[in-house]
Symmetry: D2
Subunit: 296 residues, 4 copies
């Protein structure tokens, strides 16, 4: 996972890590068949859902998630070789990274001012650049590999305030075969409601509840149609081949204006999904056999 450990957050990070400028462009390259699959950040334990990824998956030609990877988020303070920490007046970084190191900065560099940059990698790159204007800061907060790539010294390691911070990436491809169930799977869907108000969300969630399905992520995203018009991006436990998941999808498809299936794939943590006795495939098979006998 060398690639992933290089990524620190969000779209801008990916832009530096791939030949694609943005997540949207990366996904378009998959759609166009230029590449078979890409890995894009979808969720961050500090910053939340990555809007650019969610929106790019929710619209356009359908794509499918094939897997997920959890990547710890680590930050270093990097500067050109020979920089003395006491001379740092400004620190450049992406606005998403800054809140994650605020505690360390308050303790170790309380006088330094923050300078926003387009990405954490861009903050490092500008320090390494030799031509043109000097950036208005002397050090960058970036991923360890960015410091290495751009030849900067690391003045401090692991400066993130939250040691458990992690970014979740998903591997995305064009639709085709769905990965085989492993017993520890997740499914991702986007639901578009018939009417706009989120009040109808209760009806959607009951489709999960009546089949004993646990959600692990719920994000609302605007459809763009009007203020207050949202769709819901949801991850939940189980695989599309599970009976209870299939029935939930059938229920959602009925009550929603539209449902976009974004894939079933193995959980990164490999934690098995436990169905209750009333929601196993066997329970469904028994119940269906009974119904079949009733209908004669």
């Amino acid at each position: 996972m060398a690639l992933a450990s290089w990524l620190d957050s969000d779209e801008a990070a990916l832009a530096a890590a791939t030949p694609f400028g943005t997540v949207a462009l990366a996904l378009d390259a998959v759609r166009a068949g230029e590449v078979d699959r890409v890995m894009v950040p979808i969720e961050n334990s500090v910053e939340g859902g990555v809007a650019a990824t969610l929106d790019a998956l929710n619209g356009g030609e359908p794509l499918i998630i094939q897997g997920e990877v959890l990547v710890p988020i680590t930050f270093v303070l990097a500067a050109p070789a020979g920089t003395d920490r006491s001379t740092i007046r400004g620190v450049g970084s992406h606005s998403h990274a800054w809140p994650q190191v605020r505690g360390w900065m308050a303790q170790h560099l309380p006088e330094a001012s923050y300078v926003p940059t387009l990405s954490t990698a861009a903050a490092a790159e500008a320090l390494a650049s030799t031509g043109g204007d000097r950036p208005p800061y002397e050090a960058a907060v970036c991923a360890p590999m960015a410091a290495e790539v751009f030849g900067l010294d690391v003045l401090a390691r692991d400066i993130g305030d939250n040691a458990a911070a992690v970014t979740r990436f998903v591997v995305v491809s064009r639709p085709g075969s769905v990965p085989e169930p492993t017993g520890a799977d997740k499914t991702t869907v986007v639901m578009f409601q018939h009417d706009d108000h989120p009040g109808g969300l209760l009806e959607l969630l009951e489709q999960f509840a009546t089949r004993g399905i646990n959600m692990t992520r719920l994000e609302s995203r605007p459809t763009g149609a009007a203020m207050g018009s949202y769709c819901f991006s949801i991850d939940f436990e189980g695989h599309v081949s599970d009976e209870r998941v299939g029935e939930t999808l059938v229920g959602l498809k009925r009550v929603c204006a539209d449902v976009r299936f974004l894939g079933s794939y193995a959980r990164a943590d490999r934690r098995p999904v436990q169905a209750t006795p009333t929601t196993t495939d066997a329970a469904y098979a028994d119940a269906r056999a009974w119904l079949h006998s009733l209908r004669g």
Copy 2:
């Protein structure tokens, strides 16, 4: 409907109207193959569910409801020929019938005392009997046909306080083919919960709610296992061949300890069942086709 109009309420009425002593015996005769079908009272707009029928259907060898009939309940005041109304001191009838004529009695025979009998028909029969003890009353409250059968005079007609009172009968047979759907059907089931407390009832009702199914009758009946151990006898709109009904039955079968299917049959009032757009057979077919395509 000569048979039905003769019946006025409950088990005792049936006992007089058929060769069988009780509803339970009538249903046992069907089970034993002695008769093909019987008509038994199941619900009364004044007295509620007929416990003897519900319990006899809930247990024993399975039986199936093939249809339903609604029969207006009418009562007459009957007495031996030549009886003068002013001489009536006591009135015999079944304890279920008496509350239904209490208003008329208070107005027209305020001095008469009530004498309970085993059935309304038995009250009439005892007045007609010529041998042995005289019954301790001079008139009976019974169905019109009972007065006719036992040769009594009708002193007053339609003496029921509630002109809209009606008894619902069901025609019951051994399991076999289910009647064809008519578009105006009902289905009857009995649900036995895994745990005893009625709190779990909410979970059962949600199985109906998420499929947009309307219930028309709900009765709790003790299972006999312990105080507070109940099963639920339920009528709801729709036919077992409807997709939404099938899915509801599958859901109930999964979450219940047991479900007994008691039949799908045409409604007596022929009122069509309206499915919402999200719960029609077409909506299910579309959603299932979509799921099928996902599973590829």
Copy 3:
């Protein structure tokens, strides 16, 4: 509890045990101030809710339940002194009692036919009577005390098929002070819906569920207005002075056409009611204090 142990089932039993002919008359005597309180059967682990009691409590001048008593149901086979069991051809009893001894009868008196009587006590009394017609049976199924009162021999004891069978009685008075909470209380209410179909039942049950209240009995009873028009008689854990119970009652009162409060009283089994941490009086007090601070 000599009185209660004499009672074996239903209204007819009570009629023999008290100066009142029926449960309805007994409750009317309380309403009229003729007596301060009566004990009436409300629920039976074999036969279910006692319709006559439920209906008499649901309508008329309001009454309040002050307490409950659980009484084991025991049956004996009784006959005039000197009767030999081998000579028994018919057995008299109330139609509610007969199903409860069917197993014993099939084993010990398989040839005996069943003769319905107005009550189990009446079955015993007729055997003891010396004048007029002989009853068409030689033995009675009744409560032990009925055999004793009417001077019959007991040919067999504890012949009920279900040794755990029990009848629940409630003590009823005119409204006044509600019994103090004991920490192990029940509350009884009757709910009348705005519209007739039981579908609205889900909305009512959610009022309980959102406050973590457990129901222990639910009965539907017809209102008499029309076929399918039901009210719901419900027992649930907790006392009207509990915050969660008060809030549930406020919720029910809002969404129902009417709610009749039938009392809060100590449970017969003294089992304490456990509120979840989010539904204790303290949790309500904290939340209300917070709301008060918000409203300034």
Copy 4:
């Protein structure tokens, strides 16, 4: 609303429009008492919730929303005086703005490449700057006022693909008096669950549903504690002084680990909130009076 019309989206826009660098700093200035109130963007019909604002309101010293304003989003294509549209090779703008003009660009400047900038205002400012490096683009997509402030020519107006696009701003102050109810109000809260999984969301939404309260916005935001640990930021109809809103808040406070009240304020569209007959203040008053009478 001159100030607001200048703002086009997100935190970066605000940074250019106010003396504060970021939304977080603006809100901190209110907390510190440096200013009485600020207006910050909270929701955008195209981009969704503004994460920086939501997170800054969810944590730190409590603040209160006093009102809301809806501001149409309009974009212009701006360039230094004398620029010919045919010479444009690159266009600078914020990554949130670019997707909103993609359609116009594809039609009118299909060859132009996109260059991300820190804000739309920064894109304009760099074009106006005379010293140092030239930006790697010839035109900017920004708000009309930004073009005016930085002395750029407007080459095209209203180039947003969605004419109905709008940003919702809220006016925020320190806690104190809540605005008086107007009959057309909204309330904003943040809910922190006891356990992490979104499955518990259903329980929270039922607190709204049982009181007939309609939500108008729901956003999940990570708490930062762990992947999958979310809080929910919700707007709903009604004022904290409404009974049904007060009861909903009491219910949420009980079942949540914490609830942060972010204010009740007049809706920007002045659309009156309609309570159902069962959820008016009068319905609550009646029900509470009844409960009071029961408790004696």
